[in-house]
């Protein structure tokens, strides 16, 4: 009896310790970024593009990178979603046990772990072939490729969880496969689909390597798909690379802004899914 109680307490302690380590390291990252960046945080940082001598720590802000990142990640996420949803539905509802499906899953799992610089280089190669310069369009293309495996596989796992009895209910009423897929399966899986989108978006908005060649960097806000676009991760990268402490401070501030953007997207999508969650069958 005593031994079992000891076991129970030991493993409980282990779980609590792991949780504390995770949450603690996350918080310490936040705290460090905030403390180091706080002196540089200001309205002009958010509202202005870099002014002359910005890299020397003078004036202006990083609005170019904020807007660039939102454009890049937003565009890539939208395109990735448009491709991912039908792919996932096809993998699950039309070709569940086929060789094609298992091959696709396997390839996506491999692609998931491909370093993002590879996507950057691959995107760059395609851009040369299509003779596109480093631009918003190029960046969106590379980030879409980066997001696809994540989004599809994450959605795939969610769709797999939709119970067979729900599909049976729909088919038994005379629904076609498409009707069942769109009205029942997509709806039941919706909260999970939103999480998958968020996961992919989070990866894209924080990635520096894949946009380095494809989107380039600029002090301006892109006015068209063919203009180069700045991004927050690259802003951090360049600012940290300077020898000036003031500019390095700005890197932490930029990092903090990126964190806040991701956090608010996450909270917003959670609030959004709560509405859909009501109808999900548990």
């Amino acid at each position: 009896m005593d031994k079992r109680k000891l076991e129970e307490n030991f493993f409980k302690g282990l779980m609590i310790a792991s949780t504390i380590i995770i949450v603690g390291s996350l918080l310490s990252v936040l705290v460090v970024v905030l403390f180091r960046g706080a002196p540089a945080l200001s309205i002009s940082m958010l509202a202005q593009t870099p002014k002359g001598g910005y890299y020397l720590g003078k004036e202006g802000g990083i609005l170019n990178a904020i807007v660039g990142s939102l454009y890049l990640a937003g565009g890539a996420t939208a395109i990735a979603f448009i491709i991912s949803l039908p792919t996932t539905l096809y993998l699950n509802e039309y070709a569940y046990r086929s060789k094609l499906a298992s091959f696709t899953r396997q390839s996506l799992d491999v692609l998931w772990s491909v370093p993002s610089i590879i996507y950057g280089v691959f995107g760059f190669t395609i851009m040369i072939y299509l003779s596109i310069r480093a631009s918003l369009l190029g960046g969106i293309m590379a980030l879409t490729l980066l997001e696809l495996p994540i989004m599809i596989r994450a959605m795939d796992e969610v769709m797999k969880m939709v119970p067979l009895k729900l599909k049976e209910a729909s088919y038994a009423l005379g629904a076609t496969k498409l009707e069942t897929t769109l009205n029942v399966i997509a709806r039941q899986a919706l909260p999970g689909v939103v999480m998958a989108i968020l996961l992919a978006l989070g990866r894209a908005i924080g990635d520096a390597a894949s946009v380095l060649f494809t989107a380039g960097y600029t002090d301006n806000i892109p006015r068209s798909l063919f203009d180069p676009a700045a991004s927050l991760p690259l802003a951090v990268f360049f600012q940290l690379g300077t020898p000036f402490p003031e500019v390095q401070q700005r890197a932490y501030a930029s990092g903090f802004i990126l964190l806040v953007i991701v956090l608010s997207l996450s909270v917003a999508s959670r609030l959004l899914t709560r509405r859909f969650m009501r109808y999900v069958i548990k």
Binding site: K165, E168, A172, G174
Partner: protein
């Protein structure tokens, strides 16, 4: 004599090499309750799912033989399976609600079969919920998620949803097995009231339930059709020794 509505002829079902249903030939009478009885795992559910071709969804299944509904073989070539299923409503063992509101669950079938008119949908929803005895309990919260209902209410909602597509046949797969006794009685009562309009096929392993409901009884034993006939005959005076043994509780 009963007038047949569904005519099952030499139906065989194989599942990954298993011979699950063996040469089933039987007529299901129109506008009566037919109980399919037999021990667990004898193929009752498989037989039921063969009648609306929901069995098509199972991987590795092979079906041979004919099932005639209104004289048309539902296993015939080039038949639209959605039309067959529209004719045959199904109530599952455990309520299988759709991830939507009470209203949308009830209206789902009508909507996919092309009813768009709001007024018509409202009428269908009210009519079907009344028939299934749920209307008074839910009329003020039709927009609530269906999953918030109690399990007994959920099963009645499934009945309403099945009725909304105006089927001719209701296939019930032990629909009361997950319910408390009071909800079970409720469902039974509902089925007895509507049997004048529908052909009902009812799978059960509870003999007393078969006695309460059935007009006609089909006894399956390990995939074989042992005996079938009017309920009073089969349930009180069966001719087959296996049926006698099952009714006495010697085999189960």
């Amino acid at each position: 004599m009963f007038k047949p509505h569904i005519s099952i002829q030499k139906l065989n079902v194989f599942y990954e090499g298993h011979h699950v249903l063996k040469d089933i030939t039987v007529d299901i009478p129109e506008k009566r309750i037919t109980a399919i009885i037999g021990p667990s795992g004898c193929g009752k559910t498989t037989l039921l799912k063969s009648l609306n071709r929901l069995i098509d969804l199972v991987d590795g299944v092979k079906v041979s033989g004919n099932v005639l509904v209104d004289g048309i073989n539902i296993y015939g070539n080039g038949l639209d399976v959605t039309n067959i299923r529209k004719k045959m409503g199904l109530i599952a063992q455990v309520p299988n609600l759709l991830p939507m509101s009470i209203y949308d669950n009830t209206a789902y079938g009508s909507r996919i079969h092309g009813v768009k008119d709001r007024k018509e949908l409202n009428q269908t929803v009210e009519r079907c919920l009344r028939v299934s005895g749920l209307w008074d309990e839910v009329k003020d919260r039709l927009k609530d998620p269906a999953s918030k209902l109690s399990i007994g209410q959920q099963q009645r909602l499934c009945l309403a949803r099945a009725l909304a597509v105006e089927p001719e046949v209701l296939l019930c797969d032990e629909p009361t097995s997950a319910l408390d006794p009071i909800s079970a009685r409720h469902i039974e009562g509902q089925l007895l009231t509507i049997k004048k309009d529908y052909t009902i096929v009812f799978v059960t392993h509870i003999l007393r339930q078969a006695k309460r409901l059935a007009d006609y009884v089909v006894f399956l034993y390990f995939g074989e059709l042992v005996e079938h006939g009017p309920a009073e005959e089969i349930l009180t005076n069966p001719s087959e020794p296996r049926t006698q043994a099952y009714l006495k509780g010697e085999i189960s």
